[in-house]
Structures are given as structure tokens and as C-alpha cells.
């Protein structure tokens, strides 16, 4: 080690033991504490992806703020961490969901779904009768149940675990003929009657036990004072080795498939036509017998599970006529809406900025302040006010039209006028922003360039077209792209103003004239259609992401060209 480097490290050491160092260490410590707490929780929930990201973020933070060598990355780290959690993770997770069948009926994990199936009971006539139940316990902590009521004779027996072999074991000392429900025996063969709090204390054990009444019937604890008679037992037996499910009620064996089990040889009249069939599943019926019938088509309470199904959702989106039709329409309007909004707001904003640039104008600052007002009022308020103003029967605008003898317009009630209304309101909301940035950008254009153009004989229009506008676009183009991206996903405006409406008739999914992709997706995901289809909705979101990313990339390329013009 040479002299200079040692000096260097000594000064560094001095710096790092100062007050700032302690403060920084303390703050990093606080952050670490929260990260560890979070990590424990995510580990408990088995959210491994989030956990991995959390640890990565932790490493990054500790390295950046504790290692002397990482000084340069300190400014970047908070941004990187936030981007990881709020941009990268949602994008990755949405992409993942778009390749799954996550939807109504397929919400559970595979283990949870099979557990549910294993609990299902055979439904027969007498089964399900509710019997009164008393709980007894002996010195060895064995539990015995006494059931009575219904048509059956009172019975007292020792319980077994739910997964043990069925074997009735009655308590010999119990005499059914002497049983009086009003005064049950306090003690039988060393079994003591439990009551109240003591029964509740056994609740978690009681959930897992079964009382066998005879080789073919049993009683399952239903509440703390009643048991349900089960004749025939459980319906399904899951064979983990072959991944098949045996249906004891019908004697069929069903194979595990995509998201659920599929059974062959099902009589056609048992099959219910229900949604949730994925793109490549078909029920084949010949001569009244059907093959490949998913369990939920037999009984909708037999839930399936969620799993990765590959590009099914994308295939569905692009080939299924009932989704593709409205999707194309919505996409087209979405692009028109995005470009139109940027164009209108920019035109109005620029026009006003140019007008107010004129220094001969009086009260310029007053006008400027007034033009900012729409921007300063919270958007959702303005939108709701506009919705009221545009109301067909009670809105102020139509009342005014009526008052001066003009025909009234159903602003939000029919397709074309609703689109015009959307543009109108969005222009109102968006022009102050464009006005602000144009005012700023105009001042940065060198006056002598305009002078020179004038001297060369260009009129005002030509000056604007050939000099002002190109120079203005250099600095505002990135903001226009941002504005396009924002409007492309302007859910708030559409949701509050028209909620996508007026509705379009004749499509198989709910869709309206002013629906943009994000509001259309919201309806699909949040259940206005057939339950919630998170998988399909995610696929649309991914497509939106692709559209926006491509447009942005292309637009930035365009900006570069403009900059080259400026450089020349």
C-alpha cells in the first residue's frame, strides 16, 4: 500500500466516523428493520418473488449507503428501489398473471382446491340430518360424543381421527333406553360430560374427528352442540401418485388437467353449460355420453385451481370473436382519443400562449392566472361537474340551448356526441398544462431567428410554421409523448364522465362507445362480465404496455430528428 492511498483512506475514515456517518447508519438501520419485518411476513405468506425483491432492495440500500466505494450510486438508489417495487414488479407480475387461468372458479392454489374436493360429501337423501351432540372426555384425554335426536337411537362412542380407518367403538356403559335429553348422564365409563367453555376448548380437536355410528354411517361435528349425519362418507379420493381423482358417487376416475379434473363417460344431461372453459378445452359428446368434462360443469361448487396455461389468454383475445370484435373497436377509439386529446389541448394551449406572448396586451398576468384555474381544480371534481352540465334532461347546457330555441343535444346518450363530449371535457382539463409548457418554451426561442425570417420576407404564418413550431417541438415533444401516454390510460376521465357508455348493443362483452382499453379491461377484471377474469385482463394490460412502449420509442426517435434540425 502506498503512502497516498493510506492518506486517502485515513481522511475517509475521519469523514465516516463523523456525525453524518452515525446519522446515515441509524437511518439505514431503521430501513433494515422494516425490511426484516417485511421479509418475515412475506416469508410466512410464501410470497417468494416479493421476498427476493425485498432482499435485493435491502442489499442495494446497504451497499449504496455503507460502502465508501458506492458513493456515486447513492443518488440513484432511492429511484431504483422505488422503480423495482412500483414499476418492474407490477409489470412482471401482470405478465405472469396473463399466462395463467386466474379467474372466477380458478382462484385457489392447487393444494387448496384438492383439499376442498377431498372434503366434499356424497349427497344422498337421508344424509345431512342434524343431530344434537354432547361432548365427553376421559382421564386419558380421549373424546367421546353422544348424539341424539332425529329418528335414530341415541348413540355414544369414542371418536376417531378423520384420516383413520372407519371403526365404530361404542361406549359399553351407555344405555340408550335410559337416556333423557333433559338430564344427560354426567359420567359414563370414566368419560366426563364437558360443558360451555370446556367444549370450546376442544373446538380445534373436534373439527378433525369423526364418530362412526355403524360401518356405513358416521357423524361429523357441525357446531359445538350438533353433529351432521353422514351416510356414505366422502365423495372423492385423490390419488397423488397418478394425479387422479376417484369419484365414489359415480365410480368415475377423473384425470388432472388444466386447472381442474376432467372426467370421461358423463351422461349428457348431467353436464351443465358453464363458462370458464379455456380456449383449447372442448366437451365431446357422442350418443348421450360426454368426454373431457371438467368437474365444475358437473357441480359448480367443485372449484378448480389457478395455474400457468401458456398463451391461452392472448389466443383468446386475438381469435375469440366475442372478445376480438369489441377489442379492435376499443383499441381504435383509444388511439384516436389519445392522439386527439394531445392535439386539441396542445393546439389550444399553444394558441393561448402565442396570444399572450404579445407584450402590447394589457392584464397579461390576469389572463395567465385565469387560464391556470382548470388545472388547479381537482380533475375528478371538474369531470363530475361537466357530467352534470351535459346531462340530457337536467343539464345546464341543454337548458340554455332550449332557452334560446336551439335543439337540445343528448351529449352523453349517443355514441358520436358522447365522443365529442369526452374530447370537450378533456380539452378543458388539459389545455392549461399545454399553455404552461408552451409559454415557457416560447421564451427560450431566440428572438433574432424570428427577426431574420421576417427580414427574409416570411409572413406570420410562415414564421410560425417554419421557425417557431419546429423549435417549440424540440423542447415540448417529450412532454407531448408523456401526455399521450397519460391520455391513453386516462381511466379517471372515462370512468367518471361516461363510464364507457353509451353502451353498444350486439357485442358479447359489455362495451361502450367511449370505452378505452383500460376501462374495458376494468370491466372484464372487476366482474361486470362473467365473474372476474384476471388472466384475460392482464393480457390486455400487457398489450397496452406494448402499445405505449412502442409509441414512446418511436416518438423519441422522432424527437431526435427534430434535435438534429435544431443543431443545424
Amino acid at each position: 500500500m502506498t503512502e497516498t492511498t493510506r492518506d486517502h483512506s485515513t481522511t475517509r475514515f475521519a469523514r465516516y466516523t463523523g456525525r453524518a456517518f452515525w446519522l446515515r447508519t441509524a437511518i439505514v438501520g431503521v430501513i433494515d428493520a422494516f425490511l426484516v419485518l417485511g421479509a418475515v411476513q412475506f416469508a410466512q405468506n410464501r410470497s417468494w418473488a416479493v421476498l427476493a425483491m425485498l432482499l435485493l432492495a435491502g442489499l442495494l440500500i446497504n451497499w449504496a449507503y455503507l460502502s465508501p466505494r458506492a458513493q456515486a450510486s447513492r443518488w440513484l438508489t432511492p429511484g431504483l428501489v422505488l422503480m423495482m417495487f412500483f414499476v418492474v414488479y407490477p409489470v412482471l407480475y401482470t405478465t405472469y398473471v396473463s399466462f395463467t387461468n386466474f379467474q372466477t372458479g380458478n382462484l385457489l392454489s392447487r393444494e387448496q382446491a384438492i383439499e376442498r374436493l377431498e372434503e366434499a360429501e356424497i349427497k344422498t337423501g337421508e344424509s345431512g340430518e342434524l343431530l344434537d351432540m354432547l361432548v365427553y372426555r376421559d382421564g386419558d384425554d380421549q373424546l367421546a360424543l353422544l348424539v341424539h335426536g332425529g329418528d335414530a337411537e341415541p348413540f355414544m362412542g369414542v371418536v376417531r381421527d378423520a384420516d383413520a380407518e372407519a371403526a365404530p367403538s361404542p361406549v359399553p356403559g351407555f344405555d340408550p333406553s335410559a337416556f333423557d335429553p333433559e338430564a344427560p348422564p354426567e359420567s359414563v365409563d370414566g368419560f366426563e360430560l364437558l360443558s360451555g367453555l370446556a367444549v370450546t376448548g376442544q373446538a380445534s380437536r373436534l373439527e378433525d374427528v369423526i364418530l362412526d355410528l355403524s360401518p356405513s354411517s358416521s357423524a361429523e361435528v357441525e357446531t359445538l352442540s350438533s353433529a351432521r349425519l353422514v351416510i356414505g362418507g366422502l365423495r372423492f379420493i385423490y390419488d397423488a401418485d397418478n394425479d387422479t381423482l376417484f369419484d365414489q358417487q359415480t365410480g368415475r376416475t377423473c384425470d388432472a388437467g388444466e386447472g381442474t379434473f376432467f372426467c370421461d363417460g358423463v351422461p349428457e344431461d348431467e353436464v351443465q353449460r358453464v363458462a370458464r372453459l379455456s380456449a383449447d378445452t372442448t366437451i365431446v359428446c357422442t350418443a348421450g355420453m360426454c368426454d373431457g368434462v371438467p368437474l365444475f360443469a358437473l357441480d359448480q361448487t367443485l372449484a378448480g385451481w389457478r395455474e400457468v396455461v401458456g398463451p391461452d389468454n392472448y389466443v383468446d383475445l386475438l381469435t375469440n370473436e366475442r372478445i376480438r370484435g369489441p377489442f379492435g373497436r376499443v383499441l381504435l377509439w383509444n388511439v384516436i382519443f389519445g392522439f386527439g386529446s394531445v392535439l386539441l389541448t396542445f393546439a389550444l394551449g399553444l394558441g393561448l400562449a402565442l396570444t399572450l406572448k404579445n407584450e402590447d396586451m394589457k392584464y397579461r398576468s390576469v389572463y395567465r392566472s385565469i387560464y391556470i384555474i382548470p388545472y388547479a381544480v381537482p380533475g375528478f371534481l371538474s369531470i363530475l361537474v361537466w357530467r352534470g352540465l351535459l346531462n340530457n334532461e337536467f343539464g345546464q347546457i341543454n337548458r340554455m340551448f332550449d332557452g334560446i330555441g336551439l335543439p337540445t343535444v343528448d351529449w352523453l346518450g349517443s355514441g358520436n356526441t358522447a365522443m365529442i363530449s369526452v374530447f370537450l371535457v378533456n380539452t378543458w382539463l388539459g389545455f392549461p398544462y399545454m399553455f404552461l409548457i408552451c409559454s415557457g418554451a416560447l421564451t427560450s426561442i431566440p428572438e433574432e431567428l424570428i427577426e431574420a425570417a421576417r427580414v427574409d420576407g416570411a409572413g406570420p404564418w410562415k414564421v410560425f410554421r417554419m421557425v417557431t413550431l419546429p423549435l417549440l417541438l424540440v423542447s415540448t415533444a417529450p412532454l407531448l409523448i408523456g401526455s399521450f401516454a397519460f391520455n391513453f390510460n386516462n381511466f379517471l376521465l372515462i370512468f367518471l364522465l361516461t363510464n364507457g357508455g353509451p353502451p353498444l348493443s350486439g357485442y358479447d362483452v359489455p362495451v361502450g362507445s367511449t370505452d378505452i382499453l383500460i376501462s374495458f379491461t376494468f370491466d372484464i377484471a372487476a366482474g361486470a362480465g362473467r365473474g372476474s377474469q384476471f388472466g384475460l385482463a392482464s393480457a390486455i394490460i400487457v398489450l397496452i404496455f406494448v402499445v405505449l412502449a412502442t409509441t414512446s420509442a418511436m416518438s423519441f426517435g422522432l424527437t431526435k430528428k427534430l434535435e438534429e434540425i435544431y443543431d443545424q
Partner: protein, 449 residues
């Protein structure tokens, strides 16, 4: 490198100190924290002492607990508790009975207020993740979807079924099993402005005549026009002449494969609605438009449900009003949808037994049901609770003639197409027959997948 180590040690120290402070109550985490501390660095010794001291405190408390529950089984050592999600209407009544349950069983009850609109969505995601409630409040039309998702478990109410209105139990029955303890029923009726029209109409024609005689500008306001589709409030028209959404069979329930929206009876009903709109009897109003017109005294009749009773009692400028069932369209009484409200049992509950006994022994009682009714004017599903006031009694009457709203999951695909197409008919954009054909086709396509 030494420097880095020292800093890491310091940072770890801070972490441990904070962890110890944050998890003071959680013994398990403390132990791991303490273990880490002893192995990491000597400097942490101080910290460890504090953590140990806290642990001792915890142990002492546990011993106290143990001694007080000597007679109880080990199972009780880990505290059992019930989590209940209730909406704003029911949360207070549940909170009121929680202490009594804790006293009787020793089980702690945690009652959370969750807005009604959020419950359905949240149980579907929170349940499978193991964070959901044991019991939650909800409406009967959720039954099919929640059962199909495996997030609710059947509840046996056969021993007390006679105490409930049958229509409420029908609402929560899906594929032969009951899934909730009902507490209220609801259906639409008409709020009548007695200052504008004084006599009670028994048929639709009588109503129109009364409106004309009194020269009322807006005779009857119905949500679902203007810019907000609403299949629910317009259903009396759909069913007016025998129309229906899904075929219903007493033994097998609703059959999603038979959609009746484009049959002649339904089209006739919707045509009737279109005629009323054209004639100006029913103005083009969405939900809020209808509400405001009536509340301000500008409409004679308003078709909506008992959930508006509280607001009407407090807000309306109408001096004299009453509630009457929707009048008969022809010979038969109008048939609005009947819905039910109740409490579901989560399939993910780890204390299903205790939750069941809470539902049966504490919710299904006269006092609790009376409390629900006092807090929310919807007619009670519990027969022993008497309707509070004539207006509630009128809603009970309306519910008696109504038909149960389907609770099958496919109902989710009905609201959009039906509401939208009825809206288009009311706005005069499309003919009734074309509209109902489009609605029926959309529903068939959605049901078949």
C-alpha cells in the same frame, strides 16, 4: 474492510434494537432476534439483555394466563379468535353481541368494518391467502360465485329454518346447500308522493290516470335511463308479462343454459316499458336523477328499494308520502327481484366450529335480528321481528310477490348486457326486440364460455 464490518455491526445493532421494540408482544420473533444477537457481535450484549428481560416479562404473563385457565385444555393456550367483517349497517349490532360470546365461550371476537362494496372482492383474494375473516356479511347474489370459487362453506340451518322467511333461505341456496344465515330481505317497491297523488293505485293504468288527473309532470321515475343502465330496477317490466332471465325449476334451481330474454313475453314487457318512456310517463333518469326528482317533490312515484328509507325519512321535502308495491301491469301483480342479506362462513376459517356456533346461537336470535332491523330499515328475514312502520310493511308485501333473484355465478354476465340494452331501449336508440335478442345472445355466449 474493517471499517465495513464495523458499520455492518452498527447497522445490525440498530436493526435488532428496533426489532425488539417492534415485536415486544411476539415471543417467537423475540427469541430469534435474541439468538441472532448473541451470535453476531459482542457489542450486542447490551441489546440481548434488554430482549431477554422482555422475554421474561412475556413468560411471566403466559404463566399467569396458564394458571387462570388451568382447567382448560392445551388447545386453548394459543388464543382462538373469530374475525368478522361487517358492513356499516351491521357492524354495530355485531359489536354489541361480541362481548357476550367471549364471555360464554372464551373466544375473542374481532369485528372489522369493511365497506359493503369491498367485501366481495376482498374475501376472494384474502381468503385463499389465509388473511380473510371467519364470518362476513354479504348479499345472496354473491352465493354462486363465492361457492364456485370455494371461498364459502355450507351452513346447516335446518334446525332453525322455520324461523326465517323461506324466500331468504332460497336466496342463499346454491346447488342444494345453504350458505348463509340471512338477516334481511329486499325488493323494489314505489315511494308515493301523497301531496301530488293521494289515492293508491292497484294497477298501472290507474296510476297513469291518477297522474294525469293531478297533472303531474313526472309520473313515475325509474333508475336505468339517461346515462346509467340498471337491470335490477327495470326487472318488474321484464317480468311483467311472464318474461324471465334464466329458466327456474323448483327442484334443480336456475338453468343457465335456458335464457328467456328474447322470448315473446319478455319482449312484450320491454315494449311496454318503451311505450311508457315514449309517452312521457317514465322520464329518462339514471339512479341519482330519479332520486333527486322524487326527493324534491317533482315526481309522483319512485321505483326503488328499502335501502333508501333512511335517507327519505331524513331528507325529503315531501310532507306526505308512503310506500306501495309496484302496481300490477295486467292481471298478475308485478314481480320485482327479491334479494337477501346475510352472513357467510368462510371456507378458510380455522375455527369453523366456533364460527358456526356464533352464527346459530348469537346471530340467529331475536335480539340480534331486532338490532339489525333497527339499524337498517330493510325488512327482516327473521319472522319474529316485526316490521317497523307501514313503509317497511309495504316492502315486506312487495317481497312476498317478488321472485328470487338468481344467485348462480352466471348472473354476473347478465347485469351488463341487460342493463345496457334496456337503457338503449329507454333512450329510444334501439327497438325492444332487437335489444332483447342482443342481450340474450350476449348472455348465452358468456355462459357457454
Amino acid at each position: 474492510m474493517k471499517l465495513m464490518q464495523k458499520r455492518l455491526a452498527l447497522a445490525l445493532l440498530t436493526v435488532l434494537a428496533l426489532l425488539a421494540a417492534a415485536c415486544g408482544s411476539d415471543t417467537a420473533t423475540d427469541e430469534t432476534a435474541a439468538d441472532d444477537a448473541t451470535t453476531t457481535t459482542e457489542a450486542a450484549a447490551e441489546e440481548t439483555t434488554t430482549t431477554e428481560a422482555m422475554e421474561e416479562e412475556d413468560d411471566a404473563m403466559e404463566e399467569e394466563d396458564d394458571s387462570s385457565m388451568e382447567e382448560e385444555d392445551d388447545a386453548m393456550a394459543e388464543t382462538t379468535s373469530l374475525t368478522i367483517w361487517a358492513d356499516e349497517n351491521r357492524v354495530e349490532s355485531i359489536q354489541a353481541i361480541a362481548p357476550a360470546f367471549t364471555e360464554a365461550t372464551g373466544v375473542e371476537v374481532v369485528v372489522d368494518l369493511v365497506p359493503f362494496g369491498d367485501i366481495r372482492e376482498q374475501v376472494v383474494t384474502a381468503g385463499p391467502a389465509g388473511e380473510g375473516p371467519d364470518i362476513f356479511a354479504g348479499a345472496h347474489d354473491w352465493t354462486g360465485e363465492l361457492a364456485a370459487n370455494g371461498v364459502i362453506a355450507p351452513i346447516d340451518v335446518s334446525s332453525i329454518s322455520d324461523s326465517f322467511l323461506q324466500v331468504s333461505l332460497n336466496g342463499f341456496n346454491f346447488e342444494g346447500d345453504n350458505y348463509a344465515v340471512p338477516n334481511a330481505v329486499e325488493s323494489v317497491a314505489m315511494y308515493q308522493n301523497l301531496d301530488l297523488v293521494s289515492e293508491t293505485p292497484s294497477t298501472w293504468d290507474e296510476m297513469i290516470a291518477a297522474c294525469e288527473a293531478a297533472a303531474v309532470e313526472n309520473c313515475v321515475v325509474v333508475p336505468g335511463g339517461g346515462d346509467g343502465g340498471d337491470a335490477y330496477h327495470n326487472y318488474p317490466f321484464v317480468s311483467a308479462f311472464g318474461g324471465y332471465i334464466f329458466e327456474f325449476d323448483e327442484s334443480t334451481g336456475f338453468d343457465a343454459s335456458v335464457v328467456g330474454l328474447d322470448n315473446a313475453e319478455t319482449v312484450q314487457g320491454v315494449q311496454f316499458l318503451a311505450d311508457q318512456t315514449t309517452a312521457g310517463i317514465i322520464p329518462s333518469t339514471n339512479y341519482d336523477g330519479a332520486k333527486n326528482l322524487w326527493l324534491e317533490g317533482n315526481a309522483a312515484f319512485w321505483v326503488t328499494g328499502p335501502w333508501e328509507l333512511g335517507g327519505v325519512r331524513e331528507q325529503t321535502t315531501v310532507a306526505n308520502w308512503s310506500v306501495v308495491p309496484v302496481p300490477a301491469f295486467g292481471d298478475t301483480p308485478a314481480q320485482p327481484f327479491v334479494g337477501a342479506q346475510g352472513f357467510f362462513l368462510s371456507a378458510f376459517s380455522e375455527n369453523a366450529l366456533i364460527a358456526q356456533s356464533f352464527l346459530q346461537d348469537f346471530i340467529a336470535t331475536d335480539e340480534t335480528m331486532t338490532a339489525f332491523h333497527a339499524a337498517d330499515p330493510r325488512p327482516s328475514a327473521w319472522k319474529a321481528v316485526e316490521a317497523e312502520g307501514d313503509d317497511v310493511a309495504a316492502f315486506v308485501e312487495a317481497a312476498a310477490t317478488g321472485i328470487p333473484m338468481p344467485n348462480i355465478p352466471q348472473m354476473g354476465s347478465v347485469w351488463g348486457p341487460l342493463g345496457d340494452n334496456v337503457l338503449l331501449v329507454r333512450n329510444g336508440e334501439i327497438e325492444p326486440e332487437a335489444a332483447m335478442t342482443a342481450a340474450a345472445e350476449a348472455i348465452r355466449a358468456a355462459v357457454a364460455g
